[in-house]
Amino acid sequence: MRVAWLEWLFVLGLGLPLAVVLNHHLDSGIDITRDYFPDSIPQSPAASKIQPADFQAEVREAISRLERKGFSALSMDQVWFLLGSEEWKTEQIVLIDARNEAAYAAGHLPLAYRFDHYHPEEHLDEVLAACLVASQIIVYCNGGQCEDSEFAAAYLRDMGIETSKFAVLAEGMNGWLLAGHPVVLGDRQDDLIEWETILGNIELEVVQP
């Protein structure tokens, strides 16, 4: 009997504390005490993924979800228009990319701050400082069923940023790319030069088809 208990003690008694310690020491580990999905609205099973295609239906659902959470939604056209504005260049309008590092590096909107709310410590100071002085904050993730932009906005709202400042790009990056809009790569500090080069190339293509 003693031997069997020893075996169970070894498997469970050592395994569970080991799991706790490893998660705690891992940079990407989960904070057990946090609510990662604030103001979460449970999805109906029928609304959950796997059915392909109807991205626009997902976007409509996202817009209604945003309204229920108290955030406004912006269309791609509105964001595209804002990207050329003086407010955007002077950071009166701030863009926040709520996706992870790999997604951000693969392509993001110009001058977007990276803010992955699952790992807020990485960029929180920088993002909070920008949000405090901005008059409008546009948050995006992949769009449609992706709710990370809403959770990121909720996180920043809970840090003291006014709710009325936030707007979410409901189509997200998937919609942006589907529409054929350009993105910038790499670090944020090079975004403006890269963006102007991209826009210059687009204008050339229009003039000399």
Binding site: V3, F10, V11, L22
Partner: protein
Amino acid sequence: MKASALCVVRWIIGGCFVYLGWVKTRDPVAFLKVIREFNLLQAPLLMNVVAAWLPWFECWCGLLLVLGVGVRAAAMTLAGLLAAFSIMVWLRALQLMASFDGSFCSLSFDCGCGSGEVFVCQKLLQNGCLFIGALLLVWQGAGRLALWPKVGFLKLNQS
């Protein structure tokens, strides 16, 4: 059953759990999101605990099987986990069937198992095989090349 066959079973099951657990530990946030999609755990604390600790625990139990340490307890724990996972995959599949036109076996989704998007029937079959293998180890013991072969229920029965 031949001791060498038991050893192979142990390595296969242990290897699967070490690999699948390790994949999940690399991106616990992705695992957390999948857990949320299942709609079975509502409390944030419960979701976090499962997403944070379960992958490491799977790795640990898998490693014990590979090494042949505490095999019966580890195999029984993994059999229990497999049964629970299979029930959850089954329930999730039934939920998704409500908005899916194809057959049950043509339904695929990311079950959070660490292997990405999988076909339901394939996943349930895979889990079933691993479950039977785990029960075999509980019944028959570690087989060859186990580091700690004498510890277990056989010893318990003899004492």
